[in-house]
Every structure is written in C-alpha cells, then in structure tokens.
Symmetry: C2
Subunit: 123 residues, 2 copies
Amino acid sequence: MDAAFAALGEPRRREILTILSGCELAAGAIVEAMQAIESISQPAVSQHLKVLREAGLISMRAAGTRRLYAVDHDGIDAVVKWLATIGDPLGAFAQPLDALATEVARGKRQLSPKRESRDSRSA
Amino acid sequence: MDAAFAALGEPRRREILTILSGCELAAGAIVEAMQAIESISQPAVSQHLKVLREAGLISMRAAGTRRLYAVDHDGIDAVVKWLATIGDPLGAFAQPLDALATEVARGKRQLSPKRESRDSRSA
DNA sequence: GAATTATATAAGCATGAACAGATATATTGA
DNA sequence: TCAATATATCTGTTCATGCTTATATAATTC
C-alpha cells in the first residue's frame, strides 16, 4: 500500500496510468505516447514502469521482444478502498478486507481521548 | 489533483489522515497521537498538516488558540474519482462515491483485448 | 551466429523534500 | 501589559528519487 501511494505521487507515473487506462500497450508505445506530450527518455519511462509494477498498479507480460503493460485493477482497487476508510471510518461500505482492517487498526490504536478543551467538539 | 496525490505519497501524512478519519482534532492532539506511534517533532506535523490542507485533503478552523483539523471529503472524493477513471476509462460509473465504492467492492474487472500476436501496434 | 530491435539496468548527478531545533506569531488570562 | 499556551514558520542538513547517458540483456531475423 505504501508503494502504491508512493508510485501515484509522481505526475509522470499517473500520466502512464492514464495512457494505459483501458488498453494494453508495449513499453515502446508508452514511451512514444509520453514523448508526444513531454520530453522524457526511454530509460526514465522504463524505470517508472518498474515502480508502478512493483507497486501492483500495473501488470506486465512478455510477447516476443515486447513487454505489454496494463492497469492492474486489484492494485487500483486497494488504493480506492483505503481512501474509502478515510472518508467513511465507520465502514458504511467497508468490506471484509483483511489488509484494510489491518491498516485502519494500525493508525487508530489509541488516539489519546484527552479533554479536548471546552470549545467546539464534533464527531 | 497533483498536490493531493503528492500529499498522499507520504506515509506520515496518510498516518495523519487515519488519525483524523471520523473526528476533528486539534493540531496538538494530532502531534500526540503521532508521537504515540513514532518519533516526530511538532514542526514536522505542522508542516504535514499544511501540505494536506493545501492539497485539499483536510480542512482547518480556528477555535481559540487551537486549530481544529478534519478530513475534507471533497478532496478524498476527487482522488477516488480520478482512480475510478483509470480503472474504468469508459466511465461506467461516474456516479456518487458510495455507488462507486460499492461497485468497486463488488469487484468489476474485465477488459482485456488480449490481442497479442507479434504486433499489437497501438498508439 | 551476427545484426537488429525492444527493453531493462548501471552510474552519477541534481533537485526536492522531510526533518529537528530555534524562533516567531497569536490568543487567552492575570 | 506580561506570561503562558498553542501553533506556525525559518534555517540548515540530510536523504531519497527522478533524470540522462551509456551499456547490458533478450528475443528475432537473416
């Protein structure tokens, strides 16, 4: 999860995801699509692809000398679900998802109850 | 949007979001909650709060000498929606958040042209 | 097996960002 | 006004990461 969010923090990696959204493309095609927009080298794109893959946000399969990349929906879903818990801590639409529950528990353990002063208090 | 994803890329900022999820807390309470988990200074937390706020992920209001922070749901929703377009480029669900999350949770993948051969030339 | 194409990795550099400590600002109360 | 509390900002340092150039690996074709 850490890796996924870190990967998404980079504008060019999100660019790659937009390019890949809905289609499977070879690394070279991704490089071309990127270079049509901005100046970037082939190695730079290759490195970004590696980061995205290790983060579980895209998948890769070999086809001849090409490497075909596609969005990994499970990875995207995991990120969306984490965000859902932030927006909806009570789990109005939380699923029995172990990894998710773990994350929440990790951050939630003991928020000092504390007398929050005597002014406005809200849930 | 850039700012939001960049902000989420930092583990400690996500930590802050988990702490804030569901409750409004003063900066000092957030510092205490953070320090209960890991070693971090007050200025560091303050800086993270600034980044999160400028990214539209949290909101702030003054109450006496305190600054009360809370999750900004609009900001979170915007990120979720961007991710939804990646997972679903055809826009099958450009609906409200809860409907969206339900869809995602239900698991709605598919989409694989699978046209391999030796030359999947796309742009 | 040599040449060619497609992609990944290595090395080195440069920018950015997160951090701690010190200090400034602001609000409250005596 | 002064002191105390709560929080933000400034400064310098350190560490991570994205980039380019050069090179290596792997599959394909001749």
